[in-house]
């Protein structure tokens, strides 16, 4: 059930990237898609338990798997930096193309 929601988020983001014309909307869709991917890693990590894996006196409980969470932290940081780069690029483009419609920009910028 949870997995289905996660995949729905990923697909929503993906179709947003394909179908939206405005560049800022495309970037937001990409963010939605990457949120879906992050959520999928968290769902996979929580398959065998929900407890935070910290060594302590408590008796053995079902811990969540820390590896996917650690891995996805890297992907979140990379995603953030890529989005900021894209937004800077879009800011530069918006001076000459105020509507930021991708098909218009494509038309004026292909040989």
């Amino acid at each position: 059930m949870l997995e289905a929601f996660v995949f729905a988020t990923i697909l929503c983001g993906f179709f947003g990237i394909l179908l939206k014309k405005n560049l800022v909307m495309k970037i937001i869709s990409m963010d939605v898609m990457s949120t879906g991917v992050v959520a999928y890693y968290v769902v996979i990590a929580a398959r065998e338990g929900l407890f935070t894996p910290i060594a302590s006196e408590v008796e053995r409980v079902a811990y969540a798997d820390p590896v996917p969470q650690a891995v996805i932290l890297t992907a979140i940081v990379i995603g953030l930096s890529i989005q900021s780069l894209m937004l800077v690029g879009v800011m530069k483009l918006s001076r000459d193309n105020p509507t930021l419609e991708s098909n218009e920009i494509e038309k004026s910028n292909t040989p």
């Binding site: 990923i10 990237i17 990409m30 999928y40 996979i44 890297t74 890529i82 690029g89 910028n109």
Partner: protein, 295 residues
């Protein structure tokens, strides 16, 4: 030997940042970074035995350095050195040399690693460095071409990440070897990511415009090394999994046909250059040889 390998991976990044501190020495330092890589690749050929590094338990980073990776690392070093020498008197700024060396280092890392997460990180660093190099003239057209590239590669890498976690779900490890026994959708998603990064036909339709619109040194870097960062992992996966063998073989020959026919169909000055065309032939030929030589 392990320390040497780790130093070799860190060296281009370190020198890339040092270049900013000593802008006067930019070209010499960049050339020095490329030559160190070349020397390391030659040493790999001399040793012959593959070197496998497994850092931080089986969850961590694993690197494989064999003569096959040596060929790619040597190509990387030669292309980077050629680009630096080509631009020697061309008035490029310090930023260009620093980015070139950082790109060089991340491509080296992509060739060396043998687990999905390190590969992901390396490929994303490659995308960022390539975007900065493409958008370096800061004209509208170059920024747009760079943005397109970043969009395509980032979306492909998101699919790749989903594939990687599917492999993890089965084996509790991100190793390439985990591809055996992984569900077919994991294979499909990972291949989608790598094929897009490798610029192989249908998924690689971003490639012609991007290559022809960027500066010629950047275009040479992209066709020379950046696309190969997607191709070597693909070949490694084929080595682990003989079911994938016919697919990679087909893609190699299809790339060959595409490389010959595309420049004739479209007007693309850089893609038409003989260097680029021979590069494509050479790559597909190498891939076919590689697959044919598999046990």
């Amino acid at each position: 030997m392990n320390t040497l390998t780790l130093m070799w991976i860190a060296f281009p990044f370190l020198v890339g940042f040092v270049i900013y501190l000593f802008p006067k020495l930019d070209r010499s330092l960049a050339l020095c970074g490329a030559l160190v890589s070349g020397a390391y690749a030659v040493q790999l050929f001399v040793r012959q035995t593959p070197l496998t590094l497994r850092l931080l338990d089986h969850f961590g980073v694993s690197l494989v350095l064999d003569p096959l990776a040596g060929f790619f690392i040597l190509t990387n070093a030669l292309v980077t050195a050629a680009v630096i020498l080509y631009c020697w008197g061309g008035g490029k700024t310090t930023f260009f040399y620093a980015q070139t060396l950082i790109l060089h280092g991340s491509v080296n890392a992509a060739f060396a690693c043998s687990d999905f997460v390190s590969l992901y990180v390396a490929l994303e660093v490659i995308s960022i460095a390539t975007f900065l190099l493409i958008a370096y003239p800061r004209t509208d057209r170059s920024i747009w071409v760079g943005l397109r590239y970043l969009f395509v590669s980032n979306v492909a890498m998101l699919f790749y990440l989903v594939g990687a976690v599917l492999v993890y779900k089965v084996h509790h490890s991100f190793d390439f070897a985990g591809l055996r026994g992984a569900p077919p959708e994991a294979l499909a998603l990972i291949f989608l990511g790598l094929l897009v990064k490798g610029g192989i036909f249908v998924s690689g339709l971003w490639l012609p415009l991007t290559h022809s619109e960027s500066d010629s040194p950047v275009s040479a870097l992209m066709s020379g090394i950046v696309v190969k960062a997607g191709v070597l992992p693909l070949a490694r996966c084929a080595l682990f999994l003989e079911e994938v063998d016919p697919i990679v073989r087909f893609l190699a020959s299809e790339r060959h046909c595409w490389a010959c026919s595309m420049p004739c169909l479209r007007k693309m000055p850089n893609e038409c250059s003989p260097f680029t065309r021979f590069r494509s032939w050479g790559l597909s030929w190498r891939l076919q040889k590689l697959v044919a030589s598999m046990p």
